[in-house]
């Protein structure tokens, strides 16, 4: 099962990063994502497909500073 932000997620494998972000309610313009230790370039969100073996960290930014 893919691990996302430390939790095993059942319905993520097979989806693109962009599909997962949309489903999970993330705004793709406000995130940075690491997959198995490497940053995923923003332009690849539509192409990278999540696999069962993936460990993914999604950091979502909020406003204020």
């Amino acid at each position: 099962m893919a691990k996302i932000n430390g939790e095993e997620v059942t319905n993520a494998a097979g989806k693109t990063i962009m599909e997962y972000l949309t489903e999970a309610g993330y705004d793709s313009r406000r995130v940075a994502i690491e997959r198995n230790g490497s940053i995923i370039p923003k332009k690849s969100y539509e192409e990278v497909i999540i696999t069962e073996a993936d460990t993914i960290e999604i950091v979502s930014f909020v406003g204020g500073g």
């Binding site: 406000r30 950091v59 930014f61 909020v62």
Partner: protein, 206 residues
Amino acid sequence: MVTQQQLEDAMDQRFSKEVYKKLKSARVCIAGLGGLGSNIALMLARSGIGTLKLIDFDRVDITNLNRQAYRISHIGKLKTEALKEMIEEVNPYIQVETVTAKVTEENVTELFKGEKILCEAFDNPEYKALLVNSVLEHSPETILVSGSGMAGYGNSNLIQTKRKMNNFYVCGDEISDAYAGMGLLSPRVSICAGHQANMVIRLILE
């Protein structure tokens, strides 16, 4: 005029000389000089960081005074210039480099290339993401300390420092967004700035 030697002798002598030597030889870049960046810069200046590079495009506005380090006398000045002035009043021997520019997709890689330690201190979440993505993708030598989630007056203890990726730390509660009805106030913004500044010092000393 206070001399550099006097200022160095006046640091907390309970630390070893080695600690201050490391801090003095360090260089830190701060992107965004609002509530986070202005406070981070002053904390690092007081701690004796040798070189600070400050980046912002904006001028000090009256609406900044509720949480940013600026004063009434700075209104209308470039934030880079106003902050440089304030740092000089704390320690005139700190090297301050200023870049008055807006960070864009076009200049982001060039602006931060070669920086070892970078504080992301923007206000806008999309610019935060732009900076973080670009730096993590193109500058593997840079360690990034970002701020996210410090709006309002909720529990201070929810503001934390977390290592999210190998070269990427996030300070804040990661949830408290600034929006109509929930603004920014000095205490939580300063707490978050303190987390970022302390993380920078840990990176330099550990």
